[in-house]
Assembly symmetry: C2
Amino acid sequence: MAGFHQWLDRRAIFDLSLYLVLDPQMCGGLDKMVETVKEAVANGVTFVQLRSEAEIDKGLWYKAAVVLKPILKAHNIPFVINDHVDVALAVDADGVHIGQKDLPATVVRKLLGEEKIIGLSVGSVEELKAVNFTVVDYVGVGPVFATTTKKDARPALGLDGLKAIVKAHACKKVAIGGINASNAESVMSTGVDGIAVVSAICGQEDVADATTLLSTIVTAEQE
Amino acid sequence: MAGFHQWLDRRAIFDLSLYLVLDPQMCGGLDKMVETVKEAVANGVTFVQLRSEAEIDKGLWYKAAVVLKPILKAHNIPFVINDHVDVALAVDADGVHIGQKDLPATVVRKLLGEEKIIGLSVGSVEELKAVNFTVVDYVGVGPVFATTTKKDARPALGLDGLKAIVKAHACKKVAIGGINASNAESVMSTGVDGIAVVSAICGQEDVADATTLLSTIVTAEQE
């Protein structure tokens, strides 16, 4: 049963508190993405998702994932890939984050096996109630606020909308959408397990400072 | 050794002569795509690739692949997916067709296993000479003529450019790019194993007639 407990632990115990959605283009290219992620994980980021809002070739996805994998493994930070299960499999990432319009979660679970993390985006209580939590390990809830970094984002939930979703199910949740240092405290106070940020870290002039500030806020709210 | 010969056969023996690149949007949606493929395989198409030039959600790729798989299996027609290895794995398709900017062929082979077909697009003698034919089973050579159905297509090779590539290596080759009933004979005469068409079948008013005409041409040239 050792193997069973091992994957159960990996999928059950991960820290969503400061979740970085890493966009290579927003970082200013692959080299700057590597600099960004190194400073981010050294200063409090607890979870990393590779995502590209720009349509990029799968070869580029693969290159980005290949360089990120050893950095995040060395820091024991979970590393998931947005949408592309094949890229996750190719680099043996820790999992995949999918949206409502991607491959169905049950299909992704079959492809990834039992040991990997699957996250799913939800934008309403109805979507949350429809989640199959035997295959999905956490949900991303949003957009909380209006966002410019995701082109197909739906209307913002606001803090009240977020609270309603948080109350609806006791699963692991990370909030996403327009979150930054000025609103992180109020987002955390809704009861989510963490905040996911894109532009609040990617493309910031001082990534270390920006990450440290966010980390201080979420850590204070967790206590 | 039965298993060995079985996959060797599947990867070595397939008919590229009339290769349909099936684009759901060009067919007019999923329902019309199903009508198109049924008429196409009933009238001489020998190989089918699912491809979408429009950026569509992976959930839609999956839906399209799920409906195509049993139709093509029933006709014993090889069915490959463009780019998305995860979609191919999800529906147990017969393989994947990749371009120069997609996941590397060696990575795709690891993900798909030894039994599936891998095709790779090449546009020059140099690219053809760089192909690893222990993992790649055929190449798509093009664009032969100017094409409007692939947005990132490179300059047309012309018949002479195609001939030069055909002579460079004795692998299986299908020509692609602007091929239709009016030029199919001259393309086949360069020595390729087949022609790949998109708009010459997808979106045609009479798919059965269009396919029959193309099939007659390639069959005559093969004899």
